[in-house]
Subunit: 296 residues, 2 copies
């Protein structure tokens, strides 16, 4: 469907994301704003009835204006309030810009480099979802269209924080869930640096979570997994993985910095920061020995 055949609002139009052919999430759509196929994936932006504008990659919901704050605040502020003075941040993926928007709210951040493989995602979001993309014009922000896997293999730059803001481990994002990628991420981190990555569904992707944690456990001395709940992703409860050689997001977290920052949050706060690392029992059991014990 191209944008010149946008249906009239009178149609009872719904977009559905099916998961494993057992469950489907449907969103009522008012109209299609953009539809294209890049070298990497199908990219669609729709205006929904209840969730604002929504970005879909290969038919999977990536961003909705209604609840994007949950994902973007949690992937950014948990590591940024753990590191005492993050200056240089690399975001791999995240072409919608929402993660970058949260990163540059921290006054210590001098430089935020976004490396997104798919220019169509960046352009579609720049045109249709300024809520997340407007920050990409900020003077602290550098946008590179390129392969994040190659970037971390080749760059000589060091970063205090690397955020892997990826789609699911299929298609262009698959190497972002592999061992070699994280070895390179490790060598791009400055002393005391942190990496945080999109960690998939708590209920549906336990094997992937174990795999990601295993890779990180081989590379880093501190690894953790933390959860968040949103409206848009299948099953609602999803995770991020966290790794660092020096900084524990619980033991090294100074909660007084949160209020002192003056940043306005919608989901994150000093209570949620700690609570997000407290996992339900079935998840702890499924992760088994890949999950390191909490600090005393």
């Amino acid at each position: 469907m191209s944008s010149d055949t946008t249906p009239t609002p009178e149609l009872d139009l719904w977009v559905e994301e099916r998961h494993r052919d057992i469950v489907g999430a449907r969103f009522k759509v008012l109209r299609t704003l953009f539809s294209g196929t890049s070298e990497y994936q199908k990219v669609d932006v729709v205006e929904s009835a209840g969730f604002g504008k929504m970005l879909f990659n290969d038919g999977l919901a990536m961003v909705s204006e209604r609840d994007e704050f949950v994902y973007h605040e949690m992937i950014a502020h948990v590591p940024l309030f753990t590191h005492p003075e993050p200056k240089r941040v690399l975001v791999i993926g995240g072409g919608d810009g929402g993660t970058v928007r949260e990163v540059i709210k921290h006054p210590s951040v001098e430089h935020c480099h976004l490396v997104e493989i798919d220019e169509m995602v960046v352009n579609a979001c720049r045109e249709h979802i300024p809520l997340t993309s407007a920050c990409l014009n900020d003077k602290k922000v550098q946008v590179t269209i390129g392969d994040g896997v190659k970037f971390v293999a080749e760059t000589k730059e060091k970063f205090d924080l690397i955020i892997v803001d990826s789609t699911d481990p299929i298609g262009p994002a698959a190497p972002l869930f592999g061992k070699e990628f994280y070895q390179n991420v490790h060598s791009c981190l400055a002393d005391g640096g942190i990496v945080v990555s999109q960690g998939e569904s708590v209920y549906y992707e336990q094997e992937m979570q174990r795999s990601l944690l295993s890779i990180l456990n081989n590379e880093f001395s501190i690894t953790r997994l933390f959860n968040y709940s949103n409206l848009t992703y299948p099953g609602g409860l999803w995770s991020f993985v966290y790794a660092s050689d020096k900084r524990c997001p619980l033991a090294d977290f100074d909660e007084s910095r949160v209020a002192a920052s003056g940043i306005e949050f919608q989901y994150y706060n000093e209570y949620i920061h700690r609570a997000a690392f407290m996992l339900p029992e079935f998840q702890r059991k499924a992760l088994g020995s890949t999950l390191k014990p909490l600090p005393k």
Copy 2:
């Protein structure tokens, strides 16, 4: 649809629960096990492809075998591990039996009284969902088919814990969200007693959460709200409300009792107990002054 017209498994059959006509959750159905209309509501039990057997009241998903443990463990164990020695428990609603199943895992509990208004729910679950209903035959359990609103207005019995395991505040459950009901609940509590109630969706029902907390704030000196994430309810992230005149679920919680109990959990644990009370910022703002500050 009656049970003698059960469709063959070959049909691509889905049941959909729509929420405010902006979002729909669809579950693939293998066959209908029960379908009836009681004095109070439509009652359906289906066998789903990915979520086991599911109970629907008036088309709204109430129970799925896949994730019912989340709701039932959290509504029961949070208050039962806060009260030092709960002996007598009243469950209003909850005709599927899942809450009672968790309550009687606590050895201190001598008597658990279930008061469910709709006999059809109890009978359908007894026949088709033994996972939740088998416990209703336990010798500690008394099942009364009757109106919980009348029960708490008339009984002279006292309870250490009252659990309001209700459907949404429409139809037969509407009075369970009212002021008079909670005044009567209050007078049925023994000294140091606790009430916990189904508290609706975090993302979609903020006005209802404020209303429930306001009613409880007028009656009880300690009130709180805690969250859980499941797969079945719209938006995933839902709440329970908590009230007591004496016992705070954070300050009075002795986490060593959890492991010592020997109870096997799937969702609840000593970490989740505390973390569930840490609310996202948008929820804290929406609840405003109805949300009491956390203890130091």
